[in-house]
Symmetry: C2
Subunit: 212 residues, 2 copies
Protein backbone atom coordinates (compact mmCIF):
# COMPACT_ATOMS: atom_id res chain seq x y z
CA UNK A 1 0.00 0.00 0.00
CA UNK A 2 1.34 3.46 -0.86
CA UNK A 3 0.80 4.83 2.67
CA UNK A 4 2.99 2.10 4.19
CA UNK A 5 5.71 2.65 1.59
CA UNK A 6 5.74 6.36 2.39
CA UNK A 7 5.90 5.54 6.08
CA UNK A 8 8.86 3.23 5.55
CA UNK A 9 10.71 5.98 3.65
CA UNK A 10 10.29 8.35 6.59
CA UNK A 11 11.30 5.58 9.01
CA UNK A 12 14.59 5.15 7.13
CA UNK A 13 15.20 8.87 7.55
CA UNK A 14 14.40 8.74 11.27
CA UNK A 15 16.71 5.77 11.75
CA UNK A 16 19.45 7.66 9.89
CA UNK A 17 19.11 10.75 12.06
CA UNK A 18 19.14 8.70 15.26
CA UNK A 19 22.17 6.73 14.08
CA UNK A 20 24.07 9.90 13.14
CA UNK A 21 23.67 11.09 16.72
CA UNK A 22 24.20 7.64 18.19
CA UNK A 23 20.81 7.60 19.92
CA UNK A 24 19.15 4.19 20.20
CA UNK A 25 15.34 4.19 20.18
CA UNK A 26 13.07 1.55 21.73
CA UNK A 27 9.46 1.27 20.57
CA UNK A 28 7.37 -0.07 23.47
CA UNK A 29 4.27 -1.94 22.31
CA UNK A 30 1.61 -3.90 24.20
CA UNK A 31 -2.07 -4.37 24.87
CA UNK A 32 -3.70 -1.46 26.63
CA UNK A 33 -2.78 -1.52 30.33
CA UNK A 34 0.15 -3.97 30.25
CA UNK A 35 2.32 -1.48 32.14
CA UNK A 36 4.33 0.46 29.54
CA UNK A 37 3.89 3.80 31.29
CA UNK A 38 4.49 2.51 34.79
CA UNK A 39 7.69 0.78 33.66
CA UNK A 40 8.84 4.02 32.01
CA UNK A 41 7.92 6.04 35.13
CA UNK A 42 10.10 3.79 37.24
CA UNK A 43 12.89 3.82 34.64
CA UNK A 44 12.95 7.63 34.52
CA UNK A 45 12.87 7.77 38.31
CA UNK A 46 15.69 5.25 38.79
CA UNK A 47 18.01 6.13 35.87
CA UNK A 48 17.11 9.75 35.14
CA UNK A 49 20.15 11.20 36.90
CA UNK A 50 22.66 9.16 34.92
CA UNK A 51 20.96 8.51 31.60
CA UNK A 52 19.59 11.28 29.37
CA UNK A 53 16.25 9.81 28.27
CA UNK A 54 13.56 11.35 26.08
CA UNK A 55 10.10 9.92 25.49
CA UNK A 56 7.48 10.16 22.76
CA UNK A 57 4.08 8.84 23.83
CA UNK A 58 1.27 7.86 21.50
CA UNK A 59 -2.38 7.70 22.47
CA UNK A 60 -5.67 7.76 20.64
CA UNK A 61 -6.98 10.38 23.05
CA UNK A 62 -5.57 12.28 26.07
CA UNK A 63 -2.00 13.15 27.05
CA UNK A 64 -2.37 11.22 30.32
CA UNK A 65 0.74 9.09 29.78
CA UNK A 66 2.93 12.04 28.83
CA UNK A 67 1.71 13.90 31.93
CA UNK A 68 2.48 10.91 34.15
CA UNK A 69 5.99 10.62 32.70
CA UNK A 70 6.70 14.35 32.83
CA UNK A 71 6.47 14.15 36.63
CA UNK A 72 9.68 12.09 36.68
CA UNK A 73 11.89 14.05 34.31
CA UNK A 74 12.87 17.58 33.33
CA UNK A 75 13.62 16.36 29.83
CA UNK A 76 11.20 16.31 26.93
CA UNK A 77 8.19 14.05 26.94
CA UNK A 78 6.43 14.64 23.63
CA UNK A 79 2.79 13.53 23.46
CA UNK A 80 1.28 12.46 20.16
CA UNK A 81 -2.51 12.24 20.19
CA UNK A 82 -3.55 10.28 17.12
CA UNK A 83 -7.20 11.29 17.35
CA UNK A 84 -8.31 7.86 16.20
CA UNK A 85 -5.47 5.98 14.55
CA UNK A 86 -4.64 2.75 16.37
CA UNK A 87 -0.86 3.12 15.98
CA UNK A 88 1.90 5.71 15.79
CA UNK A 89 3.58 6.31 12.43
CA UNK A 90 7.06 7.42 11.39
CA UNK A 91 5.94 10.93 10.42
CA UNK A 92 4.72 11.57 13.97
CA UNK A 93 8.03 10.37 15.39
CA UNK A 94 9.98 12.45 12.83
CA UNK A 95 8.02 15.53 13.91
CA UNK A 96 8.65 14.77 17.59
CA UNK A 97 12.40 14.54 16.88
CA UNK A 98 12.34 18.14 15.64
CA UNK A 99 11.71 19.24 19.23
CA UNK A 100 14.48 17.07 20.63
CA UNK A 101 18.20 17.82 21.05
CA UNK A 102 19.64 14.49 19.95
CA UNK A 103 23.16 15.54 21.00
CA UNK A 104 21.89 15.82 24.54
CA UNK A 105 20.04 12.49 24.51
CA UNK A 106 21.37 9.02 25.31
CA UNK A 107 18.19 7.00 24.73
CA UNK A 108 14.80 7.59 23.15
CA UNK A 109 11.68 5.68 24.18
CA UNK A 110 8.55 5.60 22.08
CA UNK A 111 5.48 4.42 23.97
CA UNK A 112 3.12 3.29 21.23
CA UNK A 113 -0.68 3.15 21.31
CA UNK A 114 -1.95 0.18 23.38
CA UNK A 115 -2.75 -2.36 20.63
CA UNK A 116 -1.23 -5.78 19.94
CA UNK A 117 -2.13 -5.76 16.26
CA UNK A 118 -1.66 -2.64 14.15
CA UNK A 119 1.59 -1.14 15.58
CA UNK A 120 3.39 -4.34 14.49
CA UNK A 121 3.18 -3.20 10.87
CA UNK A 122 4.45 0.35 11.28
CA UNK A 123 8.21 0.99 11.32
CA UNK A 124 8.94 4.15 13.31
CA UNK A 125 12.68 4.17 12.66
CA UNK A 126 13.30 2.55 16.05
CA UNK A 127 16.32 0.42 16.88
CA UNK A 128 14.05 -2.35 18.19
CA UNK A 129 10.50 -3.10 19.31
CA UNK A 130 10.01 -4.16 22.93
CA UNK A 131 6.73 -6.01 23.45
CA UNK A 132 5.27 -6.00 26.98
CA UNK A 133 2.64 -8.44 28.11
CA UNK A 134 1.46 -9.17 31.58
CA UNK A 135 0.74 -12.26 33.63
CA UNK A 136 -2.90 -11.20 33.84
CA UNK A 137 -3.52 -11.48 30.10
CA UNK A 138 -3.09 -15.22 29.63
CA UNK A 139 -0.24 -17.29 28.22
CA UNK A 140 -1.43 -17.53 24.61
CA UNK A 141 -1.11 -13.88 23.49
CA UNK A 142 2.04 -14.59 21.44
CA UNK A 143 0.17 -17.28 19.49
CA UNK A 144 -2.95 -15.18 18.99
CA UNK A 145 -1.15 -11.95 18.04
CA UNK A 146 2.00 -13.43 16.46
CA UNK A 147 3.13 -10.57 14.24
CA UNK A 148 3.85 -8.28 17.18
CA UNK A 149 5.96 -10.91 18.90
CA UNK A 150 7.74 -11.71 15.68
CA UNK A 151 8.57 -8.06 14.99
CA UNK A 152 9.86 -7.49 18.51
CA UNK A 153 13.41 -8.27 19.59
CA UNK A 154 12.77 -7.98 23.33
CA UNK A 155 9.86 -9.04 25.50
CA UNK A 156 8.99 -7.81 28.97
CA UNK A 157 6.66 -10.08 30.93
CA UNK A 158 5.29 -7.66 33.49
CA UNK A 159 3.19 -7.74 36.68
CA UNK A 160 5.03 -10.76 38.06
CA UNK A 161 3.96 -9.57 41.54
CA UNK A 162 0.49 -10.92 40.64
CA UNK A 163 1.71 -14.45 39.88
CA UNK A 164 0.48 -15.84 43.23
CA UNK A 165 -3.05 -14.63 42.41
CA UNK A 166 -3.58 -15.69 38.76
CA UNK A 167 -3.70 -19.08 37.00
CA UNK A 168 -0.72 -18.16 34.81
CA UNK A 169 1.98 -20.57 33.68
CA UNK A 170 5.09 -18.51 33.07
CA UNK A 171 7.04 -21.29 31.30
CA UNK A 172 4.14 -21.88 28.92
CA UNK A 173 3.93 -18.19 28.10
CA UNK A 174 7.64 -18.06 27.28
CA UNK A 175 7.33 -21.23 25.22
CA UNK A 176 4.41 -19.70 23.26
CA UNK A 177 6.50 -16.62 22.57
CA UNK A 178 9.56 -18.65 21.53
CA UNK A 179 7.36 -20.68 19.18
CA UNK A 180 6.62 -17.46 17.33
CA UNK A 181 10.05 -15.86 17.74
CA UNK A 182 12.93 -18.00 19.07
CA UNK A 183 15.26 -14.97 19.18
CA UNK A 184 13.11 -13.01 21.63
CA UNK A 185 15.09 -11.90 24.69
CA UNK A 186 13.01 -11.85 27.88
CA UNK A 187 12.83 -9.62 30.95
CA UNK A 188 10.52 -10.47 33.88
CA UNK A 189 9.42 -7.42 35.80
CA UNK A 190 7.02 -5.86 38.17
CA UNK A 191 6.77 -2.19 37.29
CA UNK A 192 4.81 -1.83 40.53
CA UNK A 193 7.28 -3.35 43.01
CA UNK A 194 10.50 -2.94 41.00
CA UNK A 195 11.20 -6.67 40.89
CA UNK A 196 13.31 -7.63 37.86
CA UNK A 197 14.06 -4.06 36.79
CA UNK A 198 17.84 -4.48 37.41
CA UNK A 199 18.17 -6.70 34.33
CA UNK A 200 16.02 -4.26 32.34
CA UNK A 201 18.32 -1.38 33.40
CA UNK A 202 21.43 -3.39 32.49
CA UNK A 203 19.91 -3.89 29.05
CA UNK A 204 19.21 -0.14 28.64
CA UNK A 205 22.83 0.66 29.56
CA UNK A 206 24.02 -1.91 27.03
CA UNK A 207 21.92 -0.17 24.34
CA UNK A 208 23.61 3.12 25.07
CA UNK A 209 27.20 1.88 25.25
CA UNK A 210 27.17 -0.41 22.27
CA UNK A 211 25.05 -0.08 19.15
CA UNK A 212 22.16 -2.52 19.57
Amino acid sequence: ERVMAKNDEIAVDVRQRLATHGVPALNLVSSPGSGKTLLLERTLQDLGDELRMAVVTGDVQTENDADRLARWTDRLVHAVVTGGACHLDARQVATALEALDLDDTDLLFVENVGNLVCPASWDLGETAKVVLFSVTEGEDKPLKYPKMFRMARYAVLNKVDLLPHVPFDLDRAVACAREVNPELEFFFTSALTGEGTAAWYDFLWSCVHTPV
Copy 2:
Protein backbone atom coordinates in the same frame (compact mmCIF):
# COMPACT_ATOMS: atom_id res chain seq x y z
CA GLU B 1 -14.79 4.95 2.87
CA ARG B 2 -16.46 2.49 0.47
CA VAL B 3 -15.40 -0.58 2.49
CA MET B 4 -17.14 0.70 5.63
CA ALA B 5 -20.30 1.56 3.69
CA LYS B 6 -20.39 -1.95 2.25
CA ASN B 7 -19.87 -3.37 5.73
CA ASP B 8 -22.74 -1.33 7.11
CA GLU B 9 -25.04 -2.60 4.35
CA ILE B 10 -24.26 -6.19 5.32
CA ALA B 11 -24.68 -5.33 9.00
CA VAL B 12 -28.22 -4.10 8.29
CA ASP B 13 -28.95 -7.42 6.65
CA VAL B 14 -27.51 -9.38 9.58
CA ARG B 15 -29.55 -7.34 12.03
CA GLN B 16 -32.65 -7.98 9.93
CA ARG B 17 -32.12 -11.73 9.88
CA LEU B 18 -31.48 -11.86 13.62
CA ALA B 19 -34.55 -9.72 14.32
CA THR B 20 -36.76 -11.92 12.09
CA HIS B 21 -35.83 -14.90 14.23
CA GLY B 22 -35.91 -12.92 17.47
CA VAL B 23 -32.27 -13.70 18.29
CA PRO B 24 -30.40 -10.95 20.17
CA ALA B 25 -26.66 -10.73 19.50
CA LEU B 26 -24.03 -9.32 21.85
CA ASN B 27 -20.65 -8.23 20.46
CA LEU B 28 -18.02 -8.67 23.20
CA VAL B 29 -15.07 -6.30 22.78
CA SER B 30 -12.02 -5.61 24.96
CA SER B 31 -8.26 -5.41 25.13
CA PRO B 32 -6.51 -8.72 24.64
CA GLY B 33 -6.78 -10.80 27.81
CA SER B 34 -9.53 -8.91 29.64
CA GLY B 35 -11.46 -12.15 30.11
CA LYS B 36 -14.01 -12.37 27.28
CA THR B 37 -13.45 -16.09 26.70
CA LEU B 38 -13.38 -17.04 30.37
CA LEU B 39 -16.63 -15.16 30.98
CA LEU B 40 -18.20 -16.95 28.02
CA GLU B 41 -16.88 -20.32 29.23
CA ARG B 42 -18.53 -19.77 32.57
CA THR B 43 -21.73 -18.48 30.94
CA LEU B 44 -22.01 -21.55 28.70
CA GLN B 45 -21.31 -23.82 31.68
CA ASP B 46 -23.86 -22.17 33.97
CA LEU B 47 -26.69 -21.36 31.52
CA GLY B 48 -26.11 -23.88 28.72
CA ASP B 49 -28.90 -26.23 29.84
CA GLU B 50 -31.57 -23.56 29.82
CA LEU B 51 -30.44 -21.05 27.22
CA ARG B 52 -29.65 -22.00 23.63
CA MET B 53 -26.46 -19.99 22.99
CA ALA B 54 -24.29 -19.88 19.90
CA VAL B 55 -20.91 -18.17 19.64
CA VAL B 56 -18.81 -16.69 16.86
CA THR B 57 -15.21 -16.03 17.89
CA GLY B 58 -12.80 -13.73 16.09
CA ASP B 59 -9.01 -13.97 16.31
CA VAL B 60 -6.10 -12.80 14.23
CA GLN B 61 -4.56 -16.26 14.48
CA THR B 62 -5.53 -19.62 16.08
CA GLU B 63 -8.90 -21.07 16.98
CA ASN B 64 -7.87 -21.30 20.65
CA ASP B 65 -10.89 -19.43 21.94
CA ALA B 66 -13.38 -21.42 19.90
CA ASP B 67 -11.75 -24.64 21.14
CA ARG B 68 -11.96 -23.48 24.75
CA LEU B 69 -15.66 -22.62 24.36
CA ALA B 70 -16.53 -25.78 22.47
CA ARG B 71 -15.65 -27.75 25.59
CA TRP B 72 -18.68 -26.27 27.36
CA THR B 73 -21.37 -26.65 24.71
CA ASP B 74 -22.70 -29.05 22.08
CA ARG B 75 -23.97 -26.13 20.09
CA LEU B 76 -22.10 -24.32 17.36
CA VAL B 77 -19.01 -22.29 18.14
CA HIS B 78 -17.88 -20.81 14.84
CA ALA B 79 -14.27 -19.61 14.71
CA VAL B 80 -13.28 -16.78 12.40
CA VAL B 81 -9.54 -16.40 11.88
CA THR B 82 -8.94 -13.00 10.34
CA GLY B 83 -5.35 -13.76 9.31
CA GLY B 84 -4.29 -10.23 10.16
CA ALA B 85 -7.25 -7.91 10.38
CA CYS B 86 -7.59 -6.32 13.81
CA HIS B 87 -11.39 -6.62 13.94
CA LEU B 88 -14.28 -8.78 12.78
CA ASP B 89 -16.54 -7.48 10.03
CA ALA B 90 -20.20 -7.97 9.15
CA ARG B 91 -19.46 -10.27 6.18
CA GLN B 92 -17.69 -12.74 8.48
CA VAL B 93 -20.63 -12.72 10.86
CA ALA B 94 -23.10 -13.08 7.98
CA THR B 95 -21.16 -16.12 6.76
CA ALA B 96 -21.11 -17.62 10.26
CA LEU B 97 -24.89 -17.23 10.47
CA GLU B 98 -25.23 -19.50 7.43
CA ALA B 99 -24.07 -22.39 9.60
CA LEU B 100 -26.44 -21.53 12.42
CA ASP B 101 -30.07 -22.59 12.97
CA LEU B 102 -31.50 -19.30 14.22
CA ASP B 103 -34.84 -20.95 15.08
CA ASP B 104 -32.98 -23.12 17.55
CA THR B 105 -30.99 -20.25 19.10
CA ASP B 106 -31.96 -17.93 21.94
CA LEU B 107 -28.83 -15.78 22.07
CA LEU B 108 -25.80 -15.18 19.88
CA PHE B 109 -22.45 -14.04 21.26
CA VAL B 110 -19.73 -12.61 19.07
CA GLU B 111 -16.32 -12.55 20.74
CA ASN B 112 -14.42 -9.94 18.75
CA VAL B 113 -10.65 -9.67 18.25
CA GLY B 114 -8.88 -8.33 21.38
CA ASN B 115 -8.44 -4.64 20.46
CA LEU B 116 -9.86 -1.51 22.11
CA VAL B 117 -9.60 0.60 18.97
CA CYS B 118 -10.60 -0.81 15.59
CA PRO B 119 -13.64 -3.02 16.44
CA ALA B 120 -15.42 0.13 17.68
CA SER B 121 -15.89 1.25 14.08
CA TRP B 122 -17.28 -1.97 12.63
CA ASP B 123 -20.99 -2.71 12.94
CA LEU B 124 -21.55 -6.47 12.90
CA GLY B 125 -25.32 -6.31 13.00
CA GLU B 126 -25.27 -6.92 16.75
CA THR B 127 -27.97 -5.81 19.14
CA ALA B 128 -25.37 -4.16 21.37
CA LYS B 129 -21.66 -3.99 22.09
CA VAL B 130 -20.49 -5.14 25.53
CA VAL B 131 -17.07 -3.74 26.43
CA LEU B 132 -15.03 -5.67 29.02
CA PHE B 133 -12.14 -4.15 30.86
CA SER B 134 -10.33 -5.45 33.87
CA VAL B 135 -9.09 -4.03 37.14
CA THR B 136 -5.53 -4.84 36.09
CA GLU B 137 -5.54 -2.44 33.12
CA GLY B 138 -5.85 0.88 34.94
CA GLU B 139 -8.78 3.23 35.45
CA ASP B 140 -8.22 5.51 32.48
CA LYS B 141 -8.92 3.15 29.58
CA PRO B 142 -12.34 4.71 28.85
CA LEU B 143 -10.71 8.14 28.48
CA LYS B 144 -7.83 6.86 26.36
CA TYR B 145 -9.92 4.64 24.09
CA PRO B 146 -13.22 6.57 24.17
CA LYS B 147 -14.87 5.43 20.97
CA MET B 148 -15.20 1.84 22.16
CA PHE B 149 -16.82 2.91 25.41
CA ARG B 150 -19.10 5.29 23.57
CA MET B 151 -20.23 2.63 21.09
CA ALA B 152 -20.93 0.11 23.84
CA ARG B 153 -24.18 -0.05 25.73
CA TYR B 154 -22.91 -2.36 28.49
CA ALA B 155 -19.63 -2.58 30.34
CA VAL B 156 -18.24 -5.51 32.29
CA LEU B 157 -15.50 -4.62 34.76
CA ASN B 158 -13.84 -7.98 35.20
CA LYS B 159 -11.22 -9.61 37.47
CA VAL B 160 -12.63 -8.02 40.61
CA ASP B 161 -11.03 -10.91 42.55
CA LEU B 162 -7.71 -9.10 41.99
CA LEU B 163 -8.85 -5.83 43.59
CA PRO B 164 -6.99 -6.53 46.86
CA HIS B 165 -3.73 -6.86 44.90
CA VAL B 166 -3.77 -3.91 42.50
CA PRO B 167 -3.76 -0.10 42.94
CA PHE B 168 -7.13 0.22 41.18
CA ASP B 169 -9.84 2.71 42.11
CA LEU B 170 -13.12 1.20 40.97
CA ASP B 171 -15.18 4.36 41.46
CA ARG B 172 -12.71 6.36 39.38
CA ALA B 173 -12.84 3.80 36.58
CA VAL B 174 -16.63 3.95 36.51
CA ALA B 175 -16.51 7.75 36.58
CA CYS B 176 -14.07 7.76 33.63
CA ALA B 177 -16.42 5.50 31.70
CA ARG B 178 -19.49 7.59 32.52
CA GLU B 179 -17.63 10.70 31.41
CA VAL B 180 -17.40 9.15 27.96
CA ASN B 181 -20.78 7.42 27.99
CA PRO B 182 -23.26 8.26 30.76
CA GLU B 183 -25.71 5.58 29.51
CA LEU B 184 -23.28 2.71 30.04
CA GLU B 185 -24.76 -0.04 32.21
CA PHE B 186 -22.17 -1.77 34.40
CA PHE B 187 -21.57 -5.33 35.58
CA PHE B 188 -18.76 -6.18 38.02
CA THR B 189 -17.51 -9.71 37.65
CA SER B 190 -14.83 -12.22 38.26
CA ALA B 191 -14.93 -14.71 35.43
CA LEU B 192 -12.48 -16.73 37.50
CA THR B 193 -14.39 -17.03 40.77
CA GLY B 194 -17.91 -16.41 39.50
CA GLU B 195 -18.44 -13.32 41.64
CA GLY B 196 -20.96 -10.93 40.09
CA THR B 197 -22.10 -13.28 37.35
CA ALA B 198 -25.67 -13.50 38.72
CA ALA B 199 -26.42 -9.95 37.57
CA TRP B 200 -24.79 -10.72 34.20
CA TYR B 201 -27.01 -13.78 33.83
CA ASP B 202 -30.11 -11.79 34.76
CA PHE B 203 -29.19 -9.39 32.02
CA LEU B 204 -28.78 -12.18 29.45
CA TRP B 205 -32.20 -13.55 30.34
CA SER B 206 -33.68 -10.05 29.96
CA CYS B 207 -32.19 -9.86 26.45
CA VAL B 208 -33.89 -13.06 25.48
CA HIS B 209 -37.32 -12.34 26.93
CA THR B 210 -37.68 -8.76 25.83
CA PRO B 211 -36.19 -7.17 22.74
CA VAL B 212 -33.12 -5.27 23.94
